[in-house]
């Protein structure tokens, strides 16, 4: 191991420092609203990480984050922005919820799982195809188009689940419940579903693709210097479509996974908005797949722990969003100072 480079630990250190600063600032806010930060964080950590229930819940909540982050890793590494993962997620989830009940009857169990996963990927890809093509052909800003497509998706799935794909035998607007034997299997000896393996494999797979393959190499050149990429003859429009399709497809897969493993059906008003957590996550991890895993766990733990503590202490659930936001702010600040110091 001659390539050990201590500068390589700096990004990790910066992320940890950002998190610590956000917890400290969070404490000040808690004091200001008359709550004891020591009790709050004490409870948060003991409930979130101290109990097996908390840990398992956090891990389950982390799975869609991992899969979505994997996709974002690919497109961010190419300098492309997919802000609409929530829309792609919902389309993937909706397709899975609609198809799973009847596909499970026609295909053998493993083939059925693969089919639903592919359907989720297909849904997510279809939902980003238009922004991708617009970006590639006409250089139309994908930040806006992907975001707008999310709103279309939210309304579309709500309508579909109230009408065409509604299970009429139930009162709420939802699809038919998938019987538990047709859910995603559990990892042996745990209460965590196999999505965790898929999530980690996808994430590390994309991490590998970005660093070790010619496709990832082209993505990275595109991110660092698009002009040079074009000059060298790389097909930037095609790469743009690939990068966005990967991220859309994986967001769709995350949706299908959540329906297949956790929800068991698709509901009209369901929108967990994982994208809004996954986007900052991938940046905090500095486009490093390995770093995404602990951070995704941390963010899920905050969400789960925050829910537990909210009931006991009367601190609103969305206080954890404040903590997330602060972490990002401090992270941005740390980047600024790092650049400033590097210049000296």
């Amino acid at each position: 191991m001659k390539n050990v480079d201590f500068a390589g630990f700096k990004p990790t250190a910066l992320s940890i420092v950002s998190i610590l600063f956000s917890l400290m600032t969070g404490s000040i806010i808690l004091l200001a609203i008359g709550k004891d930060p020591l009790i709050y964080f004490g409870l948060l950590f003991s409930r979130g990480m101290g109990s097996s229930l908390g840990v398992i819940e956090s891990i389950i909540k982390m799975i869609p984050l991992l899969i979505i982050s994997a996709g974002l890793l690919a497109c961010f590494s190419a300098g492309l922005w997919n802000i609409g993962t929530d829309g792609q997620f919902l389309i993937g989830a909706m397709l899975a919820g609609w198809a799973a009940p009847w596909v499970s009857n026609t295909l053998p169990y493993p083939a059925y799982l693969v089919a639903i996963a592919l359907l989720g990927i297909f849904g997510g890809m279809a939902w980003i195809l238009l922004p991708a093509v617009l970006k590639a052909r006409y250089d139309i800003n994908e930040i806006i188009t992907t975001l707008m497509m999310s709103w279309v998706a939210i309304n579309l799935v709500t309508w579909l689940v109230k009408g065409p794909i509604n299970d009429l035998s139930t009162v709420p607007a939802q699809t038919t419940l998938i019987p538990s034997v047709y859910r995603l299997p559990m990892i042996p000896f745990t209460r965590i579903h196999a999505g965790l393996i898929i999530g980690i494999a996808t994430l590390l797979g994309i991490h590998w693709v970005i660093r070790k393959t010619t496709l990832g190499y082209q993505f990275r050149v595109m991110l660092m210097n698009k002009k040079a990429a074009m000059h060298a003859g790389m097909c930037v429009p095609r790469l743009t479509v690939y990068g966005l399709l990967i991220s859309g497809g994986l967001a769709g897969l995350a949706g299908a996974g959540d329906v297949l493993a956790v929800k068991g059906l698709f509901q009209g008003n369901w929108n967990p908005q994982y994208g809004m957590t996954a986007i900052p996550l991938v940046f905090l991890a500095r486009l490093n797949g390995w770093a995404v895993i602990p951070l995704a766990f941390f963010f899920s733990f905050l969400a789960i722990g925050g829910e537990f503590v909210a009931r006991d202490l009367g601190v609103p659930v969305f206080f954890v969003h404040v903590l997330e936001g602060l972490t990002l702010l401090f992270f941005a600040a740390s980047e600024y100072f790092e650049k400033k110091w590097m210049r000296r």
Partner: protein, 515 residues
């Protein structure tokens, strides 16, 4: 305004102006004097620093050093508004009017006080100015509906509207037809008659001679000489143009030993047949360009216009599509192949935009080394990069070409300009290319590196490669080329053997003077 009333001997004096941009000294201790009611041309090739100097006067750039004296008062011009307040206005090559506003709305833009626009008063004033200088225009028309020359007229009117008495025009005739140019010159003369001064930035010698009272010549960021009205009147046109050519291009080595290498004239590597291409403005940039490069030959091409030179290189490299004509590489039609296919055939293009196009500054040398060849064995197989092979290839380049870098993992940004260029050239020369297109390969490099790069190019041609050397460096052009071609206005205005070429001949062709 009162400023026009008093007469000054000199209207503007710029003393010791220096302006540096990253990597370039655009103006190096330049002096410039403008007198009242004169037409003063600043002549020089692209990149000589003409526009930078005038941008400083117009408040677009701040000089790093130097003094500006306007009407005997030292001034600081911090913005275009400052400059307009001093009575100085500039018409840029790319117009700054707002397309979906009318002429009159553009004229009052940013200068009308109060809550409500009083356009009719402004229109009356415009009518008066139009009549005085013979610049007719309908004030109610939208800019987007105007022709190029009408837009230019509006720009000039805008300056006059604000009662400026110094007009700076940046390459005003580049987009105009001959008739429109004549109209423009007529206007400029009537402006001079009314006591206004005009600065004309141009690289067109005959135009400068036809209208100027005074000519300042710039060469690589310096004021290389000035011809006063008396001097111009004392000379006939031919003597004047010869004198200017000498100042513009300096003394050129008349005959340097260029060991005549073996050129396989019957083995053409690249042939261009009536090639045409559009420039960035969407109009014909290259027009009917035809020439060939044989095996073992170095063809030098020069020209004053940087975009012409760039288009030629990009048409061959594949970055730019042709609109007409054919390209043959070793007899094979490559007109419709893309960049990667041409690379695969052995065509290498070494761009002059090293920092932005030639490499990715924040990636490692190793990753830059395979920028075009990443998909090939041994650098990758089945889409998977072979890190070890890439590293050893890069290490080999570093050693063989004496590139000063800490190793294959060093980021390109950490290298000096000369080493970056050596690296890019080294990368292009590997793998036995058939054709190398270099654009200003030694621009901004020190003498040792320049010599090394020339040696490398000669060595490559000796081994049978064809080299197209696109350059503005006369020394390089004469010392490296077997044949020399000159681009003017997107056309090949001349092609000659190195032994028949003289500085004068080439200088004239560069400026579009044909005998």
């Amino acid at each position: 305004m009162k400023i026009g009333m008093m007469t000054y001997k000199t209207l503007i004096r710029m003393i010791g102006i220096t302006k540096k941009f990253p990597g370039v000294v655009a103006n190096n201790n330049v002096d410039f004097v403008l007198h009242p009611s004169e037409i003063h041309s600043i002549l020089g090739e692209n990149g000589a620093g003409k526009t930078t100097l005038m941008n400083i006067l117009a408040g677009m750039h701040q000089p790093d050093a130097g003094t500006i004296i306007v009407r005997d008062q030292t001034v600081k011009i911090r913005s275009p508004q400052d400059s307009l307040r001093l009575g100085i206005g500039m018409v840029y090559q790319h117009f700054t009017l707002i397309p979906n506003l009318t002429v009159i709305e553009n004229l009052v833009l940013g200068f009308e006080d109060g809550l409500f626009l009083n356009l009719s008063r402004a229109e009356q004033r415009l009518q008066k100015i139009s009549a005085t200088f013979g610049l007719s225009i309908d004030p109610g028309r939208k800019i987007q509906d105007l022709s190029v020359s009408e837009r230019q007229r509006t720009e000039i009117l805008k300056i006059l509207f604000h009662e400026s008495d110094v007009l700076i025009l940046d390459e005003p005739t580049s987009m105009l037809s001959p008739a429109e140019t004549e109209d423009l010159f007529h206007t400029l003369k009537s402006l001079r008659k009314a006591g206004k001064s005009v600065v004309l930035i141009t690289h067109n010698l005959s135009e400068a001679l036809s209208i100027s009272d005074r000519i300042t010549i710039m060469r690589s960021g310096k004021n290389a000489g000035e011809l006063t009205g008396d001097m111009l009147r004392a000379m006939d046109a031919k003597t004047a143009s010869n004198r200017i050519l000498e100042v513009m291009f300096g003394a050129v080595p008349e005959s340097r030993e260029r060991v005549a290498e073996k050129v396989f004239a019957n083995e053409p590597v690249l042939e261009l047949k009536r090639v045409e291409a559009l420039n960035s403005q969407g109009v014909a940039g290259l027009k009917c360009v035809s020439f060939g490069i044989a095996k073992g030959e170095i063809v030098g091409v020069t020209g004053v216009d940087s975009e012409d030179r760039r288009l030629l290189a990009e048409v061959i490299g594949g970055q730019k599509r042709t609109t007409a004509g054919k390209l043959l590489f070793r007899g094979r039609d490559i007109t419709h192949t893309n960049i990667a296919q041409r690379f695969e055939l052995g065509i290498r293009y070494v761009t002059d935009d090293r920092m932005n196009e030639g490499c990715v500054l924040d990636m490692a040398l190793a990753e830059n080394a395979i920028l075009q060849s990443y998909y090939r064995q041994p650098f990758s197989r089945l889409g998977i990069l072979n890190h070890v092979n890439v590293q050893s290839f890069t290490g080999d380049l570093i050693n063989r070409f004496g590139i000063r870098a800490t190793g294959p993992d060093a980021r390109v940004r950490t290298l000096s300009g000369g080493n970056i260029q050596k690296f890019i050239l080294a990368r292009s020369l590997s793998g036995g290319p058939g054709l190398i297109v270099c654009s200003n390969p030694t621009y901004g490099l020190d003498a040792t590196t320049v010599r090394l790069i020339h040696q490398l190019l000669r060595e490559e041609s000796r081994q049978g490669a064809a080299v197209l050397l696109i350059t503005t460096d006369m020394d390089e052009l004469f010392s490296c080329s077997n044949r020399i071609g000159i681009l003017f206005n997107g056309e090949i205005s001349g092609f000659m053997d190195r032994n028949d070429a003289t500085a004068e001949k080439i200088g004239k062709l560069m400026l579009g003077i044909r005998e």
